[in-house]
Amino acid sequence: MTPLFQLLAAQAEVPEVIDRIPSGYSHFVIPFTIGITFFLCWIGVGCVRLLAAIPRTDMIRFWKSLFIPKTIVKNLKDLFGDCLFHVKIWQRKPLLGYMHSAIAFGWFMLIVLGHIEVALFVPARLNVTRGGLFYPIFYRYFVWMNPGHTTLRGSFFFFLMDFFLLYVLSGIALAVFKRFRSIVLGMRHTTKPSLADRVALYSLWMIFPLRLLAESFTADLSGGSFLTVGVNHFWHFLFGDKLWFTPCWWAYSVCLGLFFAAMPFSRYMHILTEVLWILLRNAGIKPHHPRKGVAEAEIYACSSCGLCLDACPMNVQKKNLKYSSVYFIRFLRRHNEKKINTIADKCLMCDKCHALCPVGVDAPALRRAQRTTVNNSLPYDYSYLSSAVSAGHLSGPGRVHPRFAAAEYGLSPAADPAERTDSPVADDTMKPEVMYFAGCMTHLTPRIIKAVDKVFKAAGIEYVFADREGGICCGRPLMLAGRTDAAAKVLEANKKMIEESGCKTLVLSCPICYKIFKDEYGLEGIKVVHYTQFINDLIASGKLKVGMSEEKMVYHDPCELGRGCGVFFEPRAALSQVGTLVKAAKEYDESICCGGSLGSLTLDTRDRAKISESSVANLLANGPDTIVTACPLCLKTFSEAVSNSRVPMPVVVVKDFAEIFS
């Protein structure tokens, strides 16, 4: 018996793989080579153009970010998690995750393993001048396995290749099934494919069955594993010794070529653009224009998967499907100005499509950028702002100072005007550190103001009521409408007023205000909190005593508070101290907009009512007694939806978060 090491040495002398076609070329590679060359040129030019459109400062930031350890870790995590393993899809819809990673990850592995095989067995062929572009793709056609000299290493690769081919084929089978019954995979609506999408899609579907066909015909010569060899035996059984190599390899090559030629115009551009988009996104670069630079990367990173279709609250009515983010991005790609504007104005800006997007495309931000191109230049005159908030006279000319006004109603003893005149030394020390800014919408729902006041009193909090007698808007609605310059003016006036007040904590009861105060105001040394967080802290620190009741409550996540600012847990923590919290059908990231959002410019009352109806139905899934929300706009919308409902509905009360604790 020959020792193993001698066997291995003997094998090393006899080649395992023999170049069957010494030229390493056959005519059938032409379609594929044309397709891939076109694609590579297109992507090269596109990449340069895209990066050239990004402003210099952003570009510097981008290059720098590639060397910051924290960003590098995040980049790697996102690239592997999103591009390769599709973690986000797996987490949300496992079957969809399987389908997508079968095709994407499976194909990726086939390409990588194919190249490794070439590198191991015929390394010279990796050279581009010797057919490196197509040789690894059609490797099986060009080689001949030396019979009796197949090593374990070779068989291992045969097995892996067959395994991943089977994996991809199972994904394709699911994808074909999804075209007919998408609901089984967890999608009610799917995107209507465009022409290029169809070409790419059908050729993608054909690539892998044809690959199996081609490789199984060649399996006699080039070897194979359980799948290709098995199918090969079947062909022999059917056709005897007449096997047709060439037509199959031609068809395989044509499909590959078609796919790559159609790719730049189809949804499959996301495969590569996503990489660039993740790097740009993690560098923190924001789009300034709805179409150029970063926005372009974002647009081409959209996989047009249509998960945003089911996410969009507008789509309770089928007629609104056309306003979804996926179509918005499609029209942005096509520069269809008219449709872009219509879709941009319709959106509620609830941010759900962004939160659920597997690629993280921030479509609401693009819509906002688009609105800016139209609305930012409109005339405005805010000369009154300076007088409205000048020198603390926030409540307007001829009215009482807010600090005194609050005292008049007995809200804050420290701010009592009489006390202030009696003890001038106490001026600074007695200044309440907490400022409460109600905002426009809260003023429309005074029950919130009363409830907040009661809670503050019960907890012994002294506070300044910034806009008791009417302040100005926070600027967020202007921003949502794309009027950024006008918003900046409002923002500046409010910022001045707040900084001059000397407060340390700013409490807001409106999530719309909270979002902009937190993100855009840049208030140095002032803690900006939403009242849900503030009240939760009061309970946690024991300042506010609460008692348990029998009440069954459901909490609605307002869009701007939940998805917008990531405040999900504080309100729930506080509410679970006073009653039983039941679950809504969809909550947290998936909560449904109440329909009253200021984000939409053109959505009419009837459509909004439909959205409110579905949102209420979602909240009532587990039979609560009370709907609790933490947004004045949601409160008003839900109250109206519950009282005006035309469909029979269980008796339910709509309450504001603060009312639960007052």
């Binding site: 805010y382 100005i472 009352t605």
Partner: protein, 109 residues
Amino acid sequence: MVDFGFGLVPSSRMNLDLFDKEKYGELSAIEPDVRICMACGSCTAVCTAGKFATTSLREAIEDIKNAKPEKALEMLRACQLCGKCSMVCPRGINTRHLILSITKVYSAE
């Protein structure tokens, strides 16, 4: 204009011959809600900017119908688009879009 032999102060004068049908058509095409306003004034009553400046959506709509578009634009310049008016409108008018549309249509010359 026919001279009836008596005068009116210019501010009270209203010349409906000057009413720009084309522009009004354009406006009602992009925001049909302009036609359903019943001039109740709820929007003006709750207006955030109205506390500090002369601004009124109700008057702006009237001004447009009375062929005084410049006055209408003047009425809306101070608007902060806060959306309170849309919440209180008994006719369910999409006031924010109406304001934007009036500004867009009538300030384009």
